[in-house]
Structures are given as structure tokens and as C-alpha cells.
Symmetry: C2
Subunit: 222 residues, 2 copies
Amino acid sequence: MAFKRNFNIMARPVTLLGHLVAISIAVLILVWILHFREGVAFKSDNKLKILNLHVLLMVIGLILFGGQAIMAYKSIPAKKYWRKVVHLGLHAIALAAAIFGICMSFKFHRDIQLKNLVSLHSWFGLITVCLYGLQWVVGFFAYFFPGAESRRRASLMPWHVYFGIFVFLMATCTAELGLLQSLDTWFLLGHTQENLIINFTGLLIFLYAATVVLTVILPPLY
Amino acid sequence: MAFKRNFNIMARPVTLLGHLVAISIAVLILVWILHFREGVAFKSDNKLKILNLHVLLMVIGLILFGGQAIMAYKSIPAKKYWRKVVHLGLHAIALAAAIFGICMSFKFHRDIQLKNLVSLHSWFGLITVCLYGLQWVVGFFAYFFPGAESRRRASLMPWHVYFGIFVFLMATCTAELGLLQSLDTWFLLGHTQENLIINFTGLLIFLYAATVVLTVILPPLY
């Protein structure tokens, strides 16, 4: 494919687009949860607030921070070591948010006595978080501490990139499934403002993922 | 990224995995539609048969044939010209199935008097098919007939590949949304056989997409 040679734009401007899309998604999710829904809570008699916390942690934590972590190598004007630290740190935040977010969804299910792990969304989500954790641990030991020997690092790198993108896109797909599921049942859907906000959020999340992946395959600015 | 240099496996065995996954998906979808649902029909008093035709055309037509079209450059042991003809032909079949499939879903909506283009699934689907058609037309004129001049072809190629993968993954995501939506409402979900079949189909479709994308970035066998 020789992507690197042929693409005629650089990664840096695309990371700017990524940041803009990320901000738009954060705004839409906050408007949705705070204005159209009841806000968030860790403990509440209004159980939907717990589910909203799940949504917030997953979209802003896992998707937005995870995407920023992937783009870090192209967006941060610093030495390689510091970009790696940011990459690792942001992924740790994303992973922690995802684990906490999944706990919230189990808590919500327990509180309103719904069965766990029934929907396609839940299957995708649990697999995604397990793979995300695995990828983080392997990445940490291979590239940060103690670090594998140089040849092994190099031969692992394309797999690290491919598998990382795979897991990120699986997280994206899980988010889309969650957004669809949040409108309860499609026979109840209507052209309400909330419906439109959810659909636009879904499109923007997909655009964000496409932008993040593009920054990975584009050559860096320097 | 220099994927090509570093990956330590070739595309051909991965295309075999792709074929196996494709067959599994086709079997699961057929079992689902023919055994658990009422089968397919173009015209019927049982309107769900029309929706089933939509599912069949989208999964087997758009996703499976589309994926085979993408893999054609790595899976077919023939000269470049014939691989291109197969690539173009399979994508044409996929696109035709998708357009026909979308018509079936509009027909289903009209027959049971549901509003069109409300759900996230429908938004993703319509955008996907428009982009798929655009990609096909641009690809046809740039690379088949009359064909752009050589330098222009080369500089367009990474974008053709990136955009093609983008559209294919969007189709994949749309299929996942459709599978989730097909179980009406998540409060009605249960650990039924049908639910399990749908979830496993969803996972296999994602695995198929990941396999197809991997064959694109891996070096060919020859």
C-alpha cells in the first residue's frame, strides 16, 4: 500500500479536525444528558441518572480520550518519550473510565432488575474493554517498562497499530449501538429534538473515529 | 507506519479466514431468516417478510460481496486486469443489492405506515449507500474506463483505499445497528436462541470487516 509515500497531506491539520469533532461530541453529549435527560449520579432514586453516568464515561472517557491517546503521536509537538507518556496516560484514563462505566451499567441493571449481557451492545462492550486492557498491558511491557528488545518491538509495532485501531473501532461501534439502544425501541422513535441529537452524535462519533485512524496512517508533520 | 515491511504474514491465508467467516455469517443469517423468522418475500401480507428481504440483501449482498470485492486483489490468483474486473463487478453486485435492499426497507415502512429515516440505523445506511455509489463511480472512471493519467491514479490510490475502507466499515456499523434494532426493544431481549444467533452474527460481521481490512494492509503472496 505504501500509504506514507503517496498521501499528499500531513497528519497535523487532521488532528486539529479531530479535536474540533471531539469538542462537538462532548457538547452534544452534555446537552443530551443535562438538558434532555436527568443528569448524572452515582447513587440516586432516579436510576436513569446512573445509566447517564455510563454514557458520559463511555463517550467522553473511552471514545474521546482513547482517540486523543491514539492521535498523541501526531498531535503533540514534543519529544518521542513525552508523546509516548501521553499516549500511555490518556489510554489509561480511557480504560479506567471504561471499566468504571461498565460497572455503572451493571449497577443500573441490578437496581432495576434487568438481566446482564443480553444485547449486542453489551457483548461488544465487554469484549472491547477486555481487549483494550490487554492491548494496554502488552503495549506497556513491550514499549515502556521494561521494554522488549529492539527487533521484537519493531516486528510487534504494525500489530500494535492494527490491533489498537481494531479495538478503537470496536469501541466506536459499541457506542453507536448504545446510542441506538438508548432510544428504547424504534417504534417509539420520532423526529424529536432528542432523536436528532442522538443521530448527529452518532455520525460525529463515526467521523471522529475515521479522523483518528487517518492521522495514524498519514505522515507526521516533522 | 510502513506496514508492508514489518508485517510478518502474507495476505493470502487471511483471505481464507475471510471466506470462512463469510460462509459462517451467510449460514447464520439464513438460519435466522428461514428458521426463526418467516422467510423472505417481495410482496406478502406478512410484511416482516419484506423486512427480511432487506436484511438478506444487506448482509449477504452489501457486506459479504462488498468484503469479497475488497479482498479480490489479494485472494484471486490471476492477472491484475482480471482482479480489477472482479473487484469492480463484485462491488457493482454489492451496490445493486444495497440499493434494492434500501427500497425494500422503504416499502416495508410504507406498508406498515412507519416514518422513514428516523433511526440512527437508517441515517447510517442511507449515507453509506450514497458514499458507496460515489466511490464506485469515481473508481470506475479513474481506474477502469477511461482511466486517469498514471500520476493522478497513483496519487488518488491511497485515498481510494482509505475511503473504500471507511465506507465498508460504515456499512459494517450500519449492519450492527440493524441487528440490534431487529430485536425491537432491549427490554424485550432475553437469552433466547434468536438473541444468541443475532449477537454471534454481529460479532462475526465485525470479525469479517477486521479480516477484510487486514488483507488490504498485508503484502500480497506474490
